[in-house]
Amino acid sequence: MDFAAILTTAVTAAIGPVAASYALAAIGLNIHFGYTGLLNFGQVGFMLVGGYGIAISVSILGWSMWVGVLVGIICAIVLALILGFPTLRLRSDYLAIATIAAGEILRLFYMSSYAEPVTGGVYGLQQFADEFYDLNPFPPDRYELGPLTFGAPDLWIMIVGWGLVALGVIFVYLLIHSPWGRIIRSIREDEEAARSLGKNVYWYKMQALILGGVIGALGGMVMVINTQSASANSFDPVVTFFLYTLLVLGGAGRVFGPVLGAVLFWFIVIGFDALLRSMIAEGLLPFLDPGDIGAIRLSLVGLGLLLLMVYRPQGILGRREEMVLDAR
């Protein structure tokens, strides 16, 4: 078995554009769940409106992709307002219910034949990010980073994607270590206490929901630009749960948690995938065929999340003593 090849595949995925888009979406989710205590189970919905914001603006409306970025951001803000307005005054469970439903509704609606003239229905939309790749400063070639090789477009989207992640991390760091961040964290601990000290809890929750949603939308944009294709089925609810898994893995409520989580998550998932594939190819697992790998991968994620919750609920970067104090 070629372990070097398996490792190369895993590392490529861990630093690839998909991992970057997940890291971005998880940074947004970290603002919701890790800092404000908002249970958003529909982060994928924000990714979807972000991705389709670009796709529809370019493919259907014929606008510039950069206008599309703006459209995607505005869509995320509107979605946050729609979700937050009725639910943020209520107990946190209601936001969870509303968001998980909203994510599914968006996916099914964008996929429906009714919406096909605008969204491309089940076929989705393609080839809307040429403007992005036109800006690529790297001449078309294969680029080698040690044992890894990337094409010029991959390198370009990776640099932009991880650049956005870096900006997101700095942004969250500054915010969380400010009086604004203090209010957000106090809401996570006990919103009535924050209210009793004169803080407009509802408005701060709304701000957090919008902010995390917009960062999630940026993640969705990186995702669709990477493949030059927006298809509703790639915004499956399971994406949100992958995001939760990697956030908990890295450490929720830690600035670097979502980034470390995204890198490790894709390293493990793709590495495991490649390992199984090569084992099957060599006939070591006669009871499996390559078609089963997807399902096994999914159960592995579930098992991983379970083990994390039992043995290291604070994640890799989290602090045990904080976890113990979590009264919720």
Binding site: E192, L197, G198, E321
Partner: protein
């Protein structure tokens, strides 16, 4: 007793429910709250004297905390109006009530467990520039203010003997320390009136004395203090004025000695004599 001067404010005030005070900071009229068929609060008229310690007493289930919740915006009254320091406060949301200078604490302390003691304190400071999202990114905009707030917070922590814990997570504090922290945190808001919901509940006897002294000190500095308590003995020593609630209504008001001798209060606490009491008691 240090409260001689203060009680003189009540000279000539008759000990009866709903009596007018010389300088009321809070005036409530017809405040009601129902839970289904139960009249939890039904207060006809109440005035709270500025700069005094007013205790709200009553047996369990008398509606003290509910009344507190209504006044501070944590619950919505069925009817009624109340003015605080000249401002109409009825139907105002809780955070606005706090900004108007009426700040409360909770019976079950709400220490923000995964914030440090100092962060808990700083949260109380009002009108922080860094609480706006875009300012928050620019430390120079709010750094100076944060420094001043930190100095004030440390002063208060010193006074409440919590300074050695300032970097500890609030969740690691004992019950009594949390009560102290909550009181100190409320003071960070610089309230005109502080509303303490059972400040002595669950606090060990040694700390109770220091808590009581803090309350008296606040009054002596000119703050209006209103607190809920059901333990009569605690109340008698420090209150300037006592309001007794039973089954949602004010049944008596007066100075501590007057309340101690009040028939209605004794009945409410011990049950009306002979036979009828156990059957009628509500919990």
């Amino acid at each position: 007793m240090p409260d001689d001067v203060k009680t003189s404010a009540f000279d000539g005030v008759v000990a009866e429910p709903g009596v007018a005070k010389p300088d009321p900071i809070l005036v409530a009229d017809g405040v009601t709250r129902r839970f289904g068929g139960l009249h939890a609060v039904n207060v006809g008229h109440l005035e709270v004297q500025r700069g005094a310690i007013t205790a709200l007493i009553g047996p369990n289930g008398a509606g003290k905390t509910t009344f507190f919740n209504l006044l501070t915006g944590f619950d919505r009254a069925g009817s009624g109006r109340w003015r605080f320091d000249g401002d109409e406060m009825s139907r105002m949301s809780a955070y606005r009530v706090a900004r108007h200078g009426m700040v409360r604490t909770f019976q079950l302390t709400k220490a923000l467990a995964r914030l440090t003691v100092l962060e808990n304190m700083l949260l109380g400071a009002t009108e922080q520039r860094g609480e706006r999202m875009f300012n928050a990114l620019l430390r120079p905009v709010w750094g100076g203010q944060e420094k001043a707030n930190t100095a004030r917070a440390e002063e208060l922590l010193e006074r409440f003997k919590l300074i050695h814990l300032k970097d500890a997570f609030a969740g690691t504090l004992s019950g009594g320390q949390r009560k102290l922290l909550e009181m100190a945190r409320a003071l960070m808001v610089q309230p005109k009136m502080i509303m303490l919901d059972e400040p002595m509940a669950g606090v060990n006897p040694a700390l109770v004395q220091s808590l009581l002294q803090h309350i008296i000190d606040l009054r002596d500095e000119g703050m209006t203090v209103c607190f809920v308590e059901h333990d009569m003995d605690m109340v008698m020593g420090i209150s300037d004025w006592i309001v007794c609630l039973a089954e949602g209504e004010i049944i008596a008001e007066g100075r501590p000695n007057e309340i101690g001798a009040n028939r209605a209060v004794i009945d409410a606490y011990l049950g009306k004599e002979h036979g009828t009491a156990p059957a009628e008691e509500t919990s």
